[in-house]
C-alpha cells in the first residue's frame, strides 16, 4: 500500500468489477443474438430493470431481513454449539472416538433431506429453517475445532508447562489461540452450508424470505425477477463473508 499510488489499492476491485461487467455484457450479447435461449437465461439488462419491481412489489427488503435473521441465528448457533461440542469431544477421548466418524459422515450427508422431520417438529415456521441451517453447518465446525486443538504443537504446550501453567491456562492461553485459525476455517465452511440450507428450505417449504420469493417468481415464470432475487441471496452471503473476515482479523493476528 504505497501512499504515492492510491489507485493500486483499488486495482483488484476494479479488475473484479470490470470482469463481472464484461461477463454480463457477453451474456447480454449472446442472448440478443439468440445463441443463448432467452426463455432460460434472461438478459442482464432485464434483470437490472426488474430490481425496482422486485423491491417495490415483492417486498424484498423484508424478505431479505427475514432470511438474514434466519441465517444469522443459525450461523451464531453453529459457531457457539459447534466450537463447544468440538472442545468437549476433544477433551473427552471416549466421546470423540465414539462420535467422530458419525460427525464426519454427517458432514457429507445431504441433511436437507430430513426437512420433513423438522417440519413435523417445528411446524412451517422460521425455526424449521433455522434448525435446518444449523444441522447442515454444524459438522465442519465440530471437526475443524477438534482438528485445530489436536494440532497444537507439542513444544508450545511444553513451554506452558515450563512456566507452570495450570491445565486450564494451557487450554485457554495456548491450545485455543493456536487452534483459532483452523476453527475459523470450520466456521466459514459451516456458514456456507448453513446459508445454502436456509435459502434451500425456504424454497422447499415455501415459507419465509428470499427462498420463497425465488420459488414464487420461478413459478410465475418471471425469470428476470428470479435472478434479481438471487442477487439478494448473494448479498446475504457477501455480508456474512465480510463479517467473518472482520471477526477473524480481530481475533487472529497475521502469522
Amino acid at each position: 500500500m504505497s501512499a504515492a499510488n492510491p489507485g493500486a489499492r483499488h486495482f483488484p476491485l476494479l479488475v473484479g468489477m470490470g470482469a463481472l461487467s464484461a461477463f454480463f455484457a457477453g451474456i447480454e450479447i449472446l442472448v440478443r443474438i439468440d445463441v443463448i435461449n432467452r426463455f432460460i437465461v434472461p438478459m442482464p439488462s432485464q434483470v437490472i430493470a426488474s430490481f425496482e419491481r422486485v423491491i417495490v412489489e415483492e417486498d424484498v427488503v423484508a424478505r431479505f431481513w427475514l432470511t438474514f435473521q434466519e441465517a444469522f441465528i443459525a450461523g451464531a448457533m453453529i459457531a457457539i454449539v459447534g466450537i463447544s461440542l468440538g472442545i468437549l469431544l476433544y477433551r473427552v477421548e471416549i466421546l470423540r472416538r465414539a462420535t467422530e466418524t458419525w460427525v464426519a459422515a454427517m458432514a457429507s450427508a445431504p441433511t436437507v433431506l430430513i426437512y420433513p422431520l423438522f417440519l413435523v417438529i417445528f411446524g412451517r415456521s422460521m425455526w424449521t429453517i433455522v434448525m435446518m441451517g444449523f444441522v447442515a453447518g454444524l459438522p465442519p465446525v465440530i471437526l475443524k475445532t477438534i482438528e485445530g486443538l489436536a494440532g497444537t504443537r507439542r513444544v508450545l504446550i511444553e513451554v506452558g508447562r515450563s512456566f507452570n501453567l495450570t491445565a486450564r491456562q494451557i487450554f485457554t492461553k495456548i491450545m485455543l489461540p493456536s487452534a483459532l485459525p483452523t476453527i475459523f476455517v470450520g466456521v466459514r465452511l459451516g456458514l456456507i452450508f448453513t446459508l445454502i440450507n436456509v435459502v434451500g428450505v425456504e424454497f422447499l417449504i415455501n415459507f419465509g424470505g428470499l427462498g420463497q420469493l425465488i420459488n414464487d417468481l420461478a413459478e410465475r415464470y418471471d425469470l428476470a425477477g428470479t435472478y434479481a432475487s438471487i442477487a439478494f441471496v448473494i448479498l446475504v452471503s457477501v455480508f456474512f463473508f465480510v463479517v467473518t473476515e472482520w471477526v477473524e482479523k480481530c481475533l487472529v493476528p497475521e502469522r
Binding site: 513444544v155 513451554v159 497475521e254
Partner: protein, 287 residues
Amino acid sequence: MAIAPEPAGRPDTAPAAQAPLLVVEDIVKRFATPDGELIAVDHVSFDVKPGEFVGVIGPSGCGKSTLFNIIGGLLDDYEGTVRVAGERVRGPHPAIGMIFQEESTFPWRSVIDNVAFPLEIAGMGRRERHERARHFVKLVGLDGFERRYPAQLSGGMRQRVSMARTLASEPKILLMDEPFASLDEQTRLLLGDKVLQIQQQLAQTTLLITHNITEAVQLADRILVMTYRPGRIKRVVDIALPRPRSSQIVSSEAFGRHVAQIWSDLREEASLGLQDEDSAYGRERRA
C-alpha cells in the same frame, strides 16, 4: 552486533567456594520401547554453581533432551534427584527457565506479548508487564520489533524472542536445549555472543545442552561430555579461556586445543551412534 567490552561483571575465576545452585544426582531414565528397555540417561550427576555456565555435549540420541526435560520437570518417572538451592525439585519449578530446541514462540502474540507471557501468567498488570518485557526485548537486541509477529521475523530473531520470554520470568537457572540448532553457523556465532553478553550482564547461571563443539567451547566454563547410549558423563573439561569472551575467540590457538580434545572424546561416541543407526534400530550397546 558490536560487542562492547563488559565491565568485569563477575570474577574470571570460577566461584569455587560457593554452594552449587543446581545439583543433579544419580539420574537414571529408562524408556520402554518395542525392543525392550532403553536406558536413555544412566547415573548422571553434576552440579552447577551460581553464575557458572556449564555445557553438556554429546552425540545425537545420547539422552541430552531427556536430561533437559528431567531437570526442567517436564518428565517424571525417573530415578535420582534434582535440587535447586538445596530444595528437591519435582515438576516445573519457577527457578528454572527453559529454552527449547524447537521454535517455540507463540505465533498469535506479538513480540512484546510473547515476552510478557510469563509476567501475564504471574498476574502482572498490562502496563507494568509491557514495561518489564521491553527491558528483556532490548536485552536480546530486538528493540524496535515489539509490535511484530513471529511470522515477520527470521529464525534467529524468533529464537531470541523465546530467550527473552524465558529471561523475563527471571529464572535462577537458565536451561537451554540446543537453542541454535536450526540456525546457520554465522547466526549461531553471533547469537552465542549475545548469550555471553547477557549471561555476563545478568550473572545468569546457565546450563547449555548442545551437540556443537565450537558453541560449547565458545560459551561454557565447564563442559560435560556424554557417552552414547546409555548416556553417561564421560569426562568433564574445564574451559580456561579468558572472559569476557566473544566469537573472535574461535580463531585462538587455545580454543582449537579444547575443540580438538573434545572432538577426540566425542568421535568415538558419535561413531557408535552411527553404527547403531546402520545396524538394527535401537539395539542396546555396552549396556
